[in-house]
Symmetry: C2
Subunit: 240 residues, 2 copies
Amino acid sequence: MSPSDGARSGRRGGIPEATVARLPVYLRVLGSLADGGVPTISSDALAAAAGVGSAKLRKDLSHLGSYGTRGVGYDVEYLVYQISRALGLTQHYRVAIIGVGNLGHALANYAGFATRGFEVAALIDADARLVGQRVAGMEIRHLDELEQIVSDHEVSIGVIATPAPAAQEVCDRLVACGVTSVLNFAPAVLSVPDTVDVRKVDLSIELQILAFHEQRKAAGGTRTPGAAVPDDVRSAAVSA
Amino acid sequence: MSPSDGARSGRRGGIPEATVARLPVYLRVLGSLADGGVPTISSDALAAAAGVGSAKLRKDLSHLGSYGTRGVGYDVEYLVYQISRALGLTQHYRVAIIGVGNLGHALANYAGFATRGFEVAALIDADARLVGQRVAGMEIRHLDELEQIVSDHEVSIGVIATPAPAAQEVCDRLVACGVTSVLNFAPAVLSVPDTVDVRKVDLSIELQILAFHEQRKAAGGTRTPGAAVPDDVRSAAVSA
DNA sequence: AGCGCTTTGTGCACCCGTTCACAAGCGGCG
DNA sequence: CGCCGCTTGTGAACGGGTGCACAAAGCGCT
């Protein structure tokens, strides 16, 4: 998303963004395979399990080196290690969750955090009535202490699970504390300096995208409950 | 995937997938503007509020018609209507949530559902102890009744919030009932016929992607002597 | 040891999406 | 009434990602 990232120190890190987004999927599948005692796997089988094409998978893996044996496949455990290393999962990341409402509550209890080197270091909320309560074995702290908490626990990833109006302010404070990665669950557009990475998870958007395709599918063929199908045909006047 | 379903993208009225993914963002911003009484807005201002480039925004909007007045901008209310229509939000969609654990609980209480024509029609869980309990004013039904519920309520979107091992089976049953859109929160790869749309929301993957970038940023600044210079001097001011 | 089967790794062509730059169009002002 | 400045809409160049097809490279069997 960076407009022009000028000088790239030709070291590792040249992994395409689309590949990075798929590596965690491979990692998860490989984890199950390793647990099942599978020693090696071919790109075809792994691709099928991960829901991608085999050529794409091979190209993805080729970006992090030539691990894999021709005629045999990939060593599962070794590949797990290499992908983990490429993703930076050999390090430990401390996460702070801001906003302990329904969603924050669910996130705090989410088992997926601990499994890959992520540790929920703090739960923070602005509501004084929640402060002191324990969720997932952790005490909720007040938003006023955010800076102190981030500093003490060396939080490197902030998870925003607040209502939308509070999101930008919380984000700004996180960034001011030196947090450079933010995962935003609030339905709001966050503006940050481009040294900071923001990823958003937005349920409402996902539903609306599904709605679009649902409408698309309904327009084509089977029984359509209401009328209102004419809007399908778009302005043919302009586009010749 | 299969080239045969190419009709879905790139036809008349065929809005590019990337554009569809951004339309909900525009819609949200426009909603706030409309509430604030703003009558018209320029592509530049709207793009800034949505966090995209203005050219991209104009091209996105151009895909759904030539709404907008040169020299003036876009009529906010009219644009809200047009985007809503393009996304299919003029229709009503009934959603079933399968799996009422921490996450399903949070989803059931999520206010964003009702706001855009989505209605949570059913909560379903496999745990008999949860059945009959009320969450968000709705009674939890047992998984055995899934087919009946989907049929009775004409559910068109299924939200899977089960543990990973149950996800594929639940998905298969949903598909068998005629559900053609699935939103998957379980950390599992779902395989469906290509008539069905699946979108996945995976917290663990998002964190791992952030970890990758975090590692990349830290690559030059940790304990490297002499190289303590921040990786990029392109510091942009936060929204002041 | 050699041969053939299997699978990786990759060069290449294609396609989607992004960005730039500008002509066309509309409202307001003199 | 005509000109001017502003904004939209879009043609065209550009870049990244995807899929195909194949050469290179191990392994096992004979």
